[in-house]
């Protein structure tokens, strides 16, 4: 199987769909002439021309709204948020229009669009440029929200996203654009609403998404040295959500630790804990543990930033707590 970077996987999905379907266009800041600040769209302007690769002014609300209008007309726009941090300027368009148009038009209008870009922290971007927004957007009916971590899923979920008749919030692992992985050739559509068992295990279920999954795999390795067998679940689809895979795993392991970069309160981990206790109450041998980002805006200094994100040690400690050892 060909090996490619997360970045290239995203680009190839977009390029393939653009070849296949003329209604697919890209909009965003510096995605064309500049090549994309993270080079995800590099080369696409040359290939598809300026009517399909549209550089915009710095007006996230305006161009996201314009893309919604295009989608209503049957186009399939893909909007790049240079980073998801800037999407706060487009929240009104995303939540009030994209998520609800189909509903308040009684099904007459649809919004087949993708909004994508890097999400999450890790390179000292500090408070305004570090957010993990899965729960924030995942709250709203009408949206679909995904967060792939492997190049394989980046491509497969992007293909699915572009073909979706609904608005998709596509949260890329910004820190992982350069990481490589196997990506099969051709149309490998990864469906939404299916979690991935990234590693099988029996003693405890580790739940995460995005770049935390890689950390959980490292933790699982470390735990195996202590003869603790951890199952790692990559949620990847935040809305719709795969309750079944999650619950089945916990029914087997009886214990769960949920890890996220985002803040604790009213978050993905809150929901995961709520679901587990709802559906696996009698199977649980310990309360679900949560490991979240520090309750502070993201700091700049390297040492503070490292301290602000979930660490392997924190997860291992939580595992020991749920195992009562």
């Amino acid at each position: 199987m060909p090996v490619m970077t997360y970045r290239d996987a995203l680009r190839s999905a977009m390029a393939e769909e653009m070849e296949r379907d003329e209604s697919v266009v890209l909009l965003g800041e510096d995605i064309g002439v500049y090549g994309g600040t993270h080079l995800v769209t590099d080369g696409l302007l040359d290939r598809f021309g300026p009517k399909r690769v549209i550089d915009t002014p710095i007006a996230e609300g305006g161009f996201t709204g314009a893309a919604i209008g295009m989608a209503m007309m049957g186009m399939r726009p893909i909007v790049e948020m240079m980073t998801w941090n800037f999407s706060f300027q487009a929240v009104d368009q995303i939540i009030q229009n994209a998520a609800k148009l189909r509903y308040f038009s009684g099904g007459q209008a649809g919004v087949p669009m993708v909004i994508r870009g890097p999400n999450g922290g890790g390179v000292q971007l500090s408070a305004q440029h570090t957010h993990s927004l899965e729960g924030f957007y995942g709250h709203f009916p009408g949206l679909k929200v995904v967060s792939p971590v492997t190049p394989h899923d980046a491509k497969g979920m992007m293909l699915t996203a572009i073909r979706e008749p609904n608005p998709v919030i596509f949260l890329e692992a910004g820190a992982l654009y350069g990481t490589k992985g196997e990506v099969p050739e051709g149309e490998v559509l990864v469906p939404f609403g299916k979690a991935r068992v990234a590693r099988e295990g029996d003693d405890v279920t580790l739940v995460g998404y995005g770049r935390q999954v890689n950390m959980l795999l490292r933790v699982a390795d470390r735990l195996s040295e202590d003869d603790i067998s951890a199952e790692v679940i990559d949620l990847r689809s935040i809305r719709p959500f795969d309750e079944q895979t999650l619950v089945e795993s916990v029914r087997k392991t009886h214990r769960a630790v949920v890890v996220q970069e985002q803040w604790r309160w009213y978050s993905v981990a809150s929901e995961v804990a709520a679901i587990i206790q709802e559906q696996a109450f009698d199977d649980l041998d310990a309360p679900v543990e949560r490991v979240s980002g520090a309750e502070a805006p993201a700091p700049y200094a390297r040492n503070l930033e490292i301290a602000a994100f979930p660490s392997e040690q924190q997860v291992i400690d939580a595992v020991h707590r749920v195992l009562y050892r």
Binding site: P57, M72, Q96, F104, V111, P165
Partner: protein
């Protein structure tokens, strides 16, 4: 509308021997209290219309007015819920511009949207049923007054967030050219919306994309001098609203929005221009709502009774009526048309009252389109 469905489309008002609107009437058009820019600076005299065409438009305007009166009654009776914003007083604007609607065009506006639906050919029964929250409503009772959609007839909503629909409209305009149609977007917005950031960002994109012929948007700024209770003058230090389009390289003009004939003249030219150039153009229609902002807003401390009375003298329907009488139309004929219009609205109310509520199962439909169900429309 019900009995004229289809007629309202692609019909351009034809000229006749009706006299042109007197220039002096236009100069004095605006009562002193109105703070907006001066009306109609465009040199050309409005085209004369033949009497039958005028009567047709008169009929529509009456239906709109009666419809709004009935909606207000329904609201008072507790049969219409939510927010309800009436178009009364502004009829000449949408009536004029939508006379030049063509089938490939798309219309988008804010929450003051009943007239737009009626003019585009939505059935008054279904519009009223929507207000009544019935399953037979235009959007199945799911959107209410603020969210009228009738995409077959070109109406793409009906939006409740001030400014929020403007970016959508200019994106739709891009799509129309991308898809190589000759349609245009008529994008209606209020004087209050122009101060919103969404307007700025969208108008700038429209100007930019219009440079390449990729933005056939006709901005129709309905300046009724108030955003709720805030007059234009209290909302901005620069009150010549259409001049704000200068910032985006979008040309513009003003029109007396109380005068149907003035609107028709501008509308014909403007729609043609936008259709041909693929570039945006903006019209500020100076108008007035004689109704309160919303049906629930009974306190009108922000304006005087005298001001309203002053504007009522220039009622757009009254002006058309006067013109028709001048042209020798019988009063009886006008009464007959009004009675017909009333009957259309009475029938709509009856239909709405008698319609069933939506099925509860509808609560969960239209949240998502089914995946792999092919196209979204």
């Amino acid at each position: 509308m019900a009995t004229t469905k289809g007629q309202s489309r692609r019909r351009k008002p034809s000229s006749s021997d009706d006299g042109p609107v007197a220039a002096s009437a236009k100069a004095n058009a605006r009562p002193q209290t109105q703070k907006g820019p001066a009306p109609s600076r465009n040199g050309a005299e409005p085209q004369a219309l033949d009497t039958e065409t005028t009567l047709g438009l008169y009929r529509k305007m009456n239906i709109i007015r009666f419809f709004e009166d009935a909606a207000q009654r329904g609201f008072r009776q507790g049969k219409v819920g939510g927010y309800l914003h009436l178009y009364s007083g502004q009829e000449a604007v949408a009536t004029g511009f939508l006379s030049f609607y063509e089938e490939t065009d798309k219309i988008i506006t804010a929450y003051r949207d009943h007239a737009h639906a009626l003019l585009l050919g939505s059935h008054p029964n279904e519009v009223m049923a929507e207000l009544y929250g019935k399953g037979t409503g235009l959007v199945k009772g799911k959107g209410g007054s603020m969210h009228l959609f009738d995409v077959e007839n070109g109406l793409w909503g009906g939006y409740g967030i001030v400014g929020g629909h403007i970016p959508l409209g200019i994106g739709m305009a891009y799509a129309l050219r991308y898809q190589q149609t000759d349609g245009i977007v008529q994008l209606y917005l209020g004087d209050g919306a122009i101060h919103n950031g969404a307007f700025h960002e969208a108008a700038n994109l429209a100007g930019l994309w219009g440079r390449d012929g990729m933005n056939p948007t006709l901005f129709i700024l309905e300046n009724n001098n108030y955003g709720m209770g805030t007059s234009v003058e209290r909302a901005t230090a620069m009150t010549d609203l259409s001049a704000k389009f200068d910032s985006y390289g979008i040309e513009h003009e003003d029109v007396d929005g109380m005068d149907l004939f003035a609107v028709l003249e501008v509308a014909e030219r403007a729609t043609k221009r936008v259709r041909e150039t693929g570039a945006p153009y903006a019209i500020e229609a100076i108008t007035y709502r004689i109704a309160p902002h919303g049906a629930a807003d009974f306190l009108e401390r922000y304006r005087t009774k005298e001001e309203i009375a002053e504007w009522r003298k220039r009622d757009p329907i009254g002006q058309v009526e006067a013109r028709l009488l001048d042209a020798g139309v019988d009063e009886a004929r006008l009464d007959e048309i009004k009675a017909e219009a009333r009957a259309v609205v009475d029938e709509a109310v009856k239909f709405a009252e008698e319609s069933p509520e939506p099925e509860i199962a509808e609560l969960y439909t239209d949240v998502y389109a089914e995946v792999n169900a092919g196209d979204t429309e």
